[in-house]
């Protein structure tokens, strides 16, 4: 029972263009969502988060959008840079679940020069 789904295992984007990574969830109790970036042989690095009371959060080149009715969130990276090539994980938590993070399977983003 996958509560957080990232349906695209990989995504290839031209340098300078927009990268859009998608994430769907099934548990309506989730109230906090996070995106992490992971390079090989390293632990995940926190990127950006959003509370369920908001529908958008922006931090530099990174913007996360939350559509609660569709149980969908997306991460936009503009403009995409070569250093953005990594695996991106979507994670969700709920106060009722003691804030443990439930993770998607990840999307490998490849930025082409």
């Amino acid at each position: 029972d996958q509560q957080v789904k990232q349906n695209s295992p990989s995504l290839s984007v031209q340098e300078g263009r927009i990268s859009i990574l998608n994430c769907d969830y099934t548990n309506s109790m989730f109230d906090y969502f996070l995106w992490y970036k992971k390079y090989p042989a390293e632990g995940p690095t926190f990127l950006i988060s959003i509370s369920s009371i908001k529908d958008k959060n922006e931090d530099g080149r990174f913007t996360v959008f939350l559509n609660k009715s569709a149980k969908h969130l997306s991460l936009h990276i503009v403009p995409s840079q070569p250093g953005d090539s990594a695996v991106y994980f979507c994670a969700a938590s709920a106060a009722s679940g003691n804030y443990q993070l439930i993770w998607g399977a990840g999307t490998k983003l490849i930025i082409k020069p």
Partner: protein, 115 residues
């Protein structure tokens, strides 16, 4: 300022053996969580500790146990290792638990291989 540190970075064990993995959280962080990441999947929650008490447990067998020490460092123990326990074990620290959501910061992980 040191981030989350985990030891060892790599480990090879034989089926049936026991393993202890260690984690030191970021200074000032009182919550430590453990995750198992199998290749091709997202991390799976194992345990969360806050102020030395277990605050959450994932769907893992009793062979998995953990504890948190007074200095907030933590150990994850796995008994009777199975081949399927081969994975990257991640430790995360965060400021608090149970009151407000905060982002978790991860160590580089311990790569455990069971042969």
């Amino acid at each position: 300022d040191a981030g989350v540190t985990q030891s060892p970075t790599h480990l090879i064990k034989t089926r049936g053996q026991h393993v202890t993995l260690r984690c030191s959280p970021i200074s000032g962080h009182k919550s430590v969580s453990w995750y198992q990441q199998v290749l091709g999947q997202g991390p799976q929650f194992i345990f969360q500790y806050y102020e030395k008490e277990e605050r959450g447990r994932g769907n893992f067998p009793d062979r998995f146990s953990a504890r948190q020490f007074p200095n907030y460092s933590s150990e994850l123990n796995v008994n009777a290792l199975l081949l399927g326990d081969s994975a990257l074990y991640l430790c995360a620290s965060s400021l608090m638990s149970g009151t407000v959501n905060t982002e978790a910061f991860f160590g580089q992980g311990t790569r455990l291989t069971v042969v």
